[in-house]
């Protein structure tokens, strides 16, 4: 066959400016999904401290001095962790909302407004995240 020209990378992310709603939704969903599974692993790791805690004495536990409680509260005391938590919430909310959107799409419901529902997911995610800031930020020092 005759020669032809392959335009390589500009084909893909080089064209991000031209992506449409559905593509962004796909990218975000992927990103958030990976974040969530990553978090799940860390989450279980952190919770694993309860294995140690369960062998500690009742008194220690009641005094809230067990390794589980101290680890959790220690982490919660960190501003960075609180920030990350907000991020996690945003990620989770978006993944849930867009996940619902995808479930609708799978069922063939409201396909005409798939772009609108993507924007709605984004906005709602933003709103919920902002609204949750006070809750997440109570009792933490900077």
């Amino acid at each position: 066959m005759s020669q032809s020209y392959n335009r390589g990378l500009i084909e893909d992310f080089g064209r991000w400016k031209e992506f449409s709603a559905g593509m962004w939704a796909w990218i975000f969903h992927k990103f958030t999904g990976w974040m969530l599974i990553g978090y799940l692993f860390t989450h279980i790791a952190v919770l694993s401290t309860s294995i140690g805690a369960s062998s500690e004495s009742t008194a220690v536990i009641q005094a809230e001095n067990d390794v589980y409680t101290t680890t959790l509260q220690g982490l919660e005391g960190l501003f960075l962790i609180r920030l990350l938590e907000i991020g996690l919430l945003a990620v989770a909310v978006f993944h849930i909302l867009n996940g619902l959107r995808l479930l609708m799409v799978d069922l063939g419901i409201g396909l005409e407004s798939q772009d609108k529902s993507f924007y709605a997911s984004l906005l709602l995610t933003g709103a919920i995240t902002v609204a949750s800031v006070p809750t997440f930020m109570t009792e933490v020092g900077i």
């Binding site: 005759s2 020669q3 032809s4 392959n6 893909d12 064209r15 593509m23 796909w26 799978d106 396909l111």
Partner: protein, 290 residues
């Protein structure tokens, strides 16, 4: 498929480097008055409205075009002018080596899907006045460029052929039978949109998944299969056979509902909807066996 850069040695290189297509576009300014050049541009603007188009150029054999570049043309505007009209004008008046496929000029042959201002569009169906200038015209992304705006369509055709794109019915009546098969109006309505595909390849080019997975059937081929699978004139068994083709690894499941195919389809075919419906059909069929 060759992906390597063009090698000039294959065919005799042009002897005269001064031919229009290979040279810097400004050279043509005197005889066409259209190419990019500040003076020419201003003059043209005075004369009347012109449209500024930037066209992707590449030719494996021509010096100066082996590395892709964009050429600027200023085309006199006329009411009703389409993107295809503008490149035809540029070709006929300024540079006869400007190459692109086109034929019907009425959105039925599917030859002239280009990447215009960042979107896959049919040249003949896009009014140039609707676009922001300069209008950037490129070959379809995710397909290899043969020359200028011409891309290699073989892969697209292969995918179309993979879904057994022909009517199959074991009990098709004999040829001399003068009786047609019956089909309800509803059923004909159901497959109506899917039957409008003109094989332009815009959808396939717009799909990121198809770009990443060369074996993915792609929206057009899946839609083609939809047309048959949903046609009641084909028997249940054949429908199952079709679903088996579609539910292969590189079939419907590959679709990540990005919707760009649906957005660019010049025939307004609800491609994503069709793909999703087939996914559900396939799941239903598989659930039956559980």
């Amino acid at each position: 498929m060759s992906t390597q850069q063009a090698e000039p040695e294959s065919q005799e290189a042009p002897e005269d480097p001064a031919m229009k297509g290979a040279e810097s576009p400004a050279a043509d300014e005197q005889n066409g008055g259209g190419m990019v050049d500040e003076h020419a541009e201003k003059a043209a603007e005075l004369e009347g409205e012109t449209v500024h188009i930037k066209v992707f150029r590449y030719d494996p054999e021509v010096e100066g075009k082996q590395e892709p570049r964009f050429d600027d043309f200023h085309v006199p505007f006329e009411k009703g002018m389409t993107v295809l009209d503008s490149v035809m004008y540029a070709r006929d008046e300024y540079d006869s080596s400007l190459t692109f496929r086109h034929s019907c000029r009425q959105a039925v042959c599917g030859s002239d899907a280009f990447f215009v201002n960042g979107k896959q569009r049919l040249g003949c169906k896009t009014q140039i006045s609707d676009l922001e200038q300069p209008v950037r015209i490129e070959p379809l992304p995710h397909q290899e460029v043969v020359k200028d705006l011409v891309v290699d369509m073989d892969h697209f055709y292969d995918q179309m052929h993979t879904v057994e794109p022909y009517f199959q019915d074991e009990d098709t009546p004999p040829v001399d039978d003068l009786e047609e098969q019956r089909q309800s109006q509803e059923n004909r309505e159901k497959i109506k949109m899917s039957s409008r595909c003109i094989w332009c390849g815009a959808c396939m080019s717009s799909c990121n998944i198809a770009a990443g997975d060369n074996e993915y059937l792609g929206p057009a081929a899946i839609n083609k299969a939809y047309k048959f699978a949903m046609d009641d004139r084909e028997g249940e068994e054949i429908k199952e056979h079709r679903l088996r083709i579609l539910e292969q690894e590189h079939g419907v499941w590959r679709c990540q509902t990005q919707f760009s195919c649906t957005e660019v389809c010049p025939k307004d075919i609800p491609l994503t909807e069709h793909i999703q419906e087939l996914k559900r059909e396939a799941v239903k069929k598989n659930l039956k066996f559980w």
